[in-house]
């Protein structure tokens, strides 16, 4: 019995003995946003409107967007994967590049939101994680569940982290757990960012920032105030703020 389990472990999971070394790798995530669910929670939307939205758009299958997290030692870079324009039209996505250095506890983020590019260089904020009693597999890794809150957007965040990958970062800037976050679930499925491919034996990964990015330097707390104000005002104006602000 025990042998069988060990075989499973060796077959499916990364061998624990190798974990002590400095790791580097590339993880591809797919982000899907459920706008019907997001809008259902807005105060001005009635049940009839929720029904109407799910009736019209409920079967609309979005392919989501692919993101890449490259990490090396204690450093990581998270950004949108460069997309091939196979659909016949290319949109310019908002800039969204996040870097983390868990050794120096510093982050440098380039975030384009509400029509401006912001540069945020400061300490990585401390995330208060609760560890829950649930386990599941994501991309071949056994993950534990942790929970935190995003107070700016009023969201409950669930992270599934793999303690088998010895890097404490994850997608969308979240991290600080004993392992890499392979799935992030924002407000019970409103947005789900799942690892689709984990490659931890990449010969070469770069966590360097793109050179020459113009933007306005801002403290995270100041940007949070701008975003929170926009969200509150837009909801007061009976509109969905999350067309413009990343959910």
């Amino acid at each position: 019995m025990k042998n069988i389990i060990y075989t499973i472990i060796v077959l499916f999971f990364f061998a624990p003995s190798a974990q002590a070394q400095e790791m580097q790798g590339l993880i591809t995530y797919n982000r899907k946003t459920d706008y019907i669910s997001i809008m259902s929670k807005l105060p001005h939307i009635s049940q009839e409107e929720v029904d109407r939205m799910s009736l019209t758009w409920g079967n609309w299958n979005s392919k989501g967007r692919d993101y890449e997290l490259s990490f090396k030692g204690d450093k990581s870079l998270y950004k949108l994967r460069e997309k091939e324009t196979t659909e016949g039209y290319s949109w310019k996505p908002d800039k969204f590049i996040l870097t983390r250095d868990y050794k120096t506890n510093q982050k440098f983020d380039i975030i384009e939101t509400l029509g401006k590019v912001y540069l945020i260089e400061e300490e990585i904020p401390k995330t208060k994680w609760k560890i829950l009693n649930e386990i599941k597999e994501v991309a071949g890794y056994l993950c534990m569940k942790a929970e935190t809150k995003n107070l700016v957007k009023g969201q409950t965040i669930h992270a599934w982290f793999a303690d088998g990958i010895n890097f404490m970062g994850g997608p969308e800037g979240y991290g600080g757990l004993p392992g890499t976050i392979l799935e992030l679930d924002i407000n019970d499925g409103d947005a789900i960012i799942t690892a689709t491919e984990v490659n931890i034996e990449m010969p070469e990964v770069s966590t360097a920032l793109p050179k020459k990015v113009k933007g306005k330097k801002i403290a995270q707390s100041d940007l949070d105030v701008i975003v929170k104000k926009y969200i509150d005002e837009t909801i007061e104006g009976k509109k969905n703020p999350y067309w413009r602000v990343r959910y």
Binding site: M1, K2, I4, I5, I8, I9, F12, P16, A20, M39, S46, Q47, E48, D51, R52, S54, L55, T56, G58, N59, W60, E84, T85, T86, E87, G88, Y89, S90, W91, K92, E112, L114, G115, V117, K128, W129, K130, I131, L132, N133, E134, I135, K136, E137, L142, M144, K145, A146, D163, G164, L177, P178, I226, E233, E236, G237, K238, K239, W243, R244
Partner: protein, 939 residues
């Protein structure tokens, strides 16, 4: 007495000082065989809410240590791959170091690991005595019951008699969403509920009544199973009924009902009224069509990547009459006057399992309109003016049945096939009576009395087959489609007219009597085939090649019989048959660059028209004509768009459009069907070419809420279709289609939206200007009619509080028309429309709505200054439980001033309209009526 208190205080301080000290926690993680687990994760958590304080990894001997742990209640949780996570209390009561000793971890049961985690990829949750799986990921065949699902869940046994056990203990109770299901027989739920409706299965120890209250737990003998239902299985339907009766014999009834789940949508809608409001809103359309409301990019006539290939949505069909679509019934505006009576309704069914999409819709539409009114028309020639004054009466009734079926199959991720068929059947009766007086300057020219009765029957059949293929190579795509359309229209037309012509001295000169029966049958078969191929040249460059083929065969047979008291004689001059074939080939290619928000396309197409027509007169006159023409044209195309600044878009495009002349216009035959307006075809006509330029810019500022846009277009024509007319002394016009140069059309449209006070007062400003230049010939003199039209628009949305909304709109239209052959006839027209709408929630939940519309029409040249004020009121209140009902009392057109009014440069008409009436109506809405003093903002 004081001492013990002091001691207590000291000891309390002592304890608190003591507990300020941090402590260490250590331990060793092993498996059940006492072998150390190396590099296991150890989490240090707050005991109260599991907040993570720190984490560590075990050493080679399985040991771990947390140093300098701040005092408090703590837990240590150990995790290791393949083992059940384990939590242990690690609080230090007195601040001393804690040694947890050996922490033995249990292996995950193999079946949990292989079945739940690996195969089903379902999370498992351990909550005290509960193990929970997400049942959505357990694949069971369609139509399976919960019992079939349970048989697949690890740790659960289902006996042949249906009794269930979990972890060796009997399941004595099954609940659904925490509630007992059909009493407490566990089999009732598991045997009857469909497995696909279940989202979660939970199994836990059955608690006794006492334990439920006290929260105490004991070793239970049996277990309870809870089945959680999926959200969509809880969804029923929604729908509403509105019924109203009013004064002036007015009534309206409208109802719709809708039922849907993840795969199936069914809806029904029905409307009947004689109030002229079609009663159907955008929401009703969406409720009716469901997932078929929008068909993105469903255009089948492939071409250049238009405007950079942005998605546009099409409402299938379009156009009027036979080829119009169901959507045009929904979006038909309110009628301009007359007394209407409308009935329509239909059924829609959609099925969607992601691989197969089926949609079918049936719609019936009946509309009747009675109109009485007057109209006047003025025309200017070099040296004289004609004016026509008419009194008319119209009574129209049309009925139509339409049906549509569409099937889309996604064969695999690369291949899609689509089949679509639609059919329509319409009948239409139009009756009109008209008395018109025509004057040549001020002299009476003729008086005509006309009575027409037209019965039309029409049918349409249309089929489309489409195939889309994506290749393994990313970006390589192909599309093929073919369609066939068949229509037949038959008119039976009785015309009875008497025209009296007057000489210069206003003396009756001659009288023309027409008393005819006209039977006109027109058939059309239109075959189309289109192909598109996209090849990626690199990551950023693509080539797009297309081919369009179209073949249209039109046949007509018109028999006109002159009626006299006793006989019916075929009118050989006017009766005719024709057969026209219009063929078109177009082949084109373009090179496209698409990257990072920049899209550029450059291409060209070659287009050929083949026109063949045979025209045959009837009987001895044997008028006939043959047309056999081929036209070839080059069509260049360029478009680009990009985002030069954040949230700012700029696009520019140029294309050329070639339009073939109609065969009727090419036939060298005189058409004297209308004796007042005789047309002769022109075999020398060539295709009309238009060079179309457009330039657009838009920018938005999300934080301030400011949006601005500017759109311009300019069309320059070569060989534009126009007419050469000559008018004789009796004002009979002889017309011939010709090609002219120098025509153009320019349009500029600017828009600005901004908040004056955020969320309280916002404004929207639009300005539209259009210039039209079109040359024509009258009595051999070239006449350049040029007109400028300016349309400023401003709107204020005022929403100072939740219970008050005020909306003010001004919409003006200035037209400045210049005739270069007769400048004295130049005219300036001004049409103004203002509206103020207010909704307020007053005391006792009563809403008050007032809508005032004021329209004004000016035309100095014709001495027109008309104003039409319309005021509508309504008060309403929600009633019944959950606001499911609404009672509404309305008064329409309080001033009784409503008329139908039209005013353009050469034409004016006024007719009767439904005036003042009051109506009481009741709404019942299953989902509850939502009332708001504010208008719905678009998402």
């Amino acid at each position: 007495m004081k001492k013990p208190l002091l001691l207590l205080i000291i000891s309390l301080i002592g304890i608190s000082v003591f507990s300020q000290q941090s402590y260490n926690i250590s331990g060793t993680v092993t498996d059940t065989l006492n072998d150390p687990l190396i590099y296991a994760t150890v989490l240090l958590l707050e005991k109260s809410d599991s907040t993570m304080v720190d984490f560590a990894r075990t050493e080679l001997d399985g040991s771990f240590k947390f140093k300098d742990v701040k005092p408090g209640q703590h837990m240590v949780k150990t995790t290791y791959i393949g083992y059940i996570p384990k939590s242990i209390d690690a609080s230090s009561k007195d601040g001393s170091n804690i040694d947890l000793g050996q922490i033995k971890m249990n292996e995950l049961a193999e079946e949990l690991m292989t079945v739940v985690i690996k195969a089903a990829k379902a999370p498992i949750k351990m909550r005290g005595d509960t193990i929970e799986y997400d049942a959505t990921t357990f694949k069971v065949p369609e139509g399976s019951t919960v019992e079939d699902l349970l048989k697949r869940l690890p740790g659960i046994e289902v006996e042949s008699d249906g009794s269930i056990s979990a972890d060796g203990k009997d399941v004595s109770k099954v609940t659904v969403d925490g509630k007992s299901f059909f009493g407490s027989d566990p089999k009732a739920a598991t045997k009857n509920l469909p497995a696909e409706g279940i989202s979660k299965v939970q199994v836990f120890d059955t608690k006794t009544e006492e334990e439920e209250i006290t929260g105490a737990t004991s070793q239970a003998e049996d277990k309870t199973m809870n089945l959680e239902l999926k959200e969509e299985f809880k969804k029923g339907g929604f729908g509403k009924v509105i019924a109203g009766v009013g004064t002036e014999n007015r009534a309206e009834l409208k109802g719709n009902y809708n039922k849907f789940n993840k795969k199936i949508q069914f809806s029904v809608v029905g409307v009947g009224n004689n109030t002229g409001r079609n009663g159907l809103s955008w929401d009703d359309y969406q409720d009716f069509m469901g997932s078929q409301s929008f068909n993105f990019g469903s255009g089948t006539d492939y071409g250049f990547p238009g405007g950079g290939g942005r998605h546009t949505y099409y409402f299938g069909g379009g156009g009027g009459g036979l080829e119009s679509s169901i959507q045009s019934i929904f979006f038909a505006g309110d009628q301009n006057g007359g007394l209407p009576e409308n009935y329509n309704g239909g059924l829609n069914f959609n099925y969607d399992d992601t691989k197969n999409k089926i949609s079918s819709v049936y719609y019936y539409n009946q509309s009747g309109l009675e109109k009485v009114g007057t109209s006047s028309r003025d025309r200017f020639y070099n040296g004289f003016t004609s004016s026509e004054l008419s009194d008319n009466l119209n009574n129209d009734l049309s009925k139509g049945h339409r049906g549509e079926v569409e099937y889309v199959k996604e064969i695999d991720s690369l291949h899609t096939i689509k089949f679509k068929a639609n059919a329509a059947f319409i009948t239409d009766n139009r009756f009109s009576e008209e008395v018109s007086i025509v004057k040549n300057d001020t002299k009476l020219a003729n008086i005509a009395n006309t009575k027409n009765n037209v019965d039309t029957k029409g049918q349409l059949l249309n089929g489309l087959l489409l195939f889309r293929k994506k290749f393994q190579k990313k970006g390589r795509n192909m599309g093929l489609n073919t369609s066939i359309l068949y229509t037949e229209l038959e008119d039976d037309w009785t015309q009875d007219s008497k025209t009296e012509y007057f000489s210069d001295a206003a003396v009756l000169d001659s009288t023309a009597l027409i008393n005819q029966v006209n039977n006109n049958v027109r058939d059309k078969i239109h075959f189309k085939a289109n192909a598109l191929y996209v090849e990626p040249l690199s990551k950023r460059f693509f080539s797009q090649t297309f081919y369009n083929y179209s073949n249209r065969k039109e046949t007509g047979d018109r028999k006109i019989n002159d009626l006299s008291a006793s006989s019916e004689v075929l009118n050989e001059d006017l009766s005719r048959t024709y057969e026209n074939m219009i063929g078109m080939h177009r082949v084109g290619t373009s090179l496209r660059y698409s990257f990072d928000g920049m899209n550029i396309s450059l291409g060209a197409a070659y287009q050929t028209f083949d026109l063949n027509g045979i025209f045959q007169g009837a009987g001895a006159s044997m008028v006939n004509g043959v047309v056999d023409k081929t036209f070839n044209n080059w069509i260049p195309n360029f478009s680009m768009n990009f985002e030069p600044v954040s949230n700012g878009y700029l696009s520019f495009g140029y294309t050329r459009n070639a339009k073939e002349p109609t065969i009727e216009d090419l036939q060298p035959v005189v058409n004297n069907l209308n004796p007042q307006y005789v047309i002769e075809g022109n075999p020398g006509l060539t295709p009309e070419l238009s060079n179309q330029f457009n330039l657009n810019f838009s920018k938005s500022y999300p934080i301030s809420g400011v949006r601005l846009s500017l759109r311009t277009s300019y069309d320059l024509y070569d060989n534009q279709f126009s007419t050469a007319e000559s008018v004789d002394e009796y004002l009979i016009t002889y017309a011939q289609p010709i090609n002219v140069d120098g025509g153009s059309r320019f349009n500029i449209n600017g828009g600005l939206n901004f908040p004056i006070i955020k969320n309280k007062v916002t404004t929207r400003i639009r300005l539209n200007a259009t210039q039209n230049i079109k040359p024509s010939f009258v009595n051999d003199v070239e006449n350049n009619t040029s007109s400028w039209s300016y349309r400023p628009y401003i709107r204020f949305n005022i929403t100072p509080a939740e219970n008050l909304g005020i909306y003010i709109t001004a919409n003006l239209n200035f037209t400045d028309t210049r005739y270069d052959i007769n400048e004295s006839q130049n005219q300036k027209i001004r049409n103004e429309s203002y509206s103020v709408e207010m909704t307020a929630k007053t005391f006792l939940g009563v809403y008050l709505n007032a809508n005032f519309e004021y329209d004004r029409y000016y035309n100095e040249r014709f001495n027109i200054d008309r104003d039409i004020p319309i005021l509508n009121w309504s008060i309403y209140k929600q009633v019944l439980k959950d606001n499911k009902g609404e009672i509404r009392l309305s008064l329409y057109d309080s001033f009784n001033k409503n008329v139908g009014f039209t005013s353009s440069d050469s034409y004016r008409a006024e007719n009767n309209a439904l005036g003042r009436y009051a109506m009481v109506s009741f709404t019942y809405n299953i989902r509850g009526v939502k009332a708001s003093a504010h208008k719905k903002s678009w998402w």
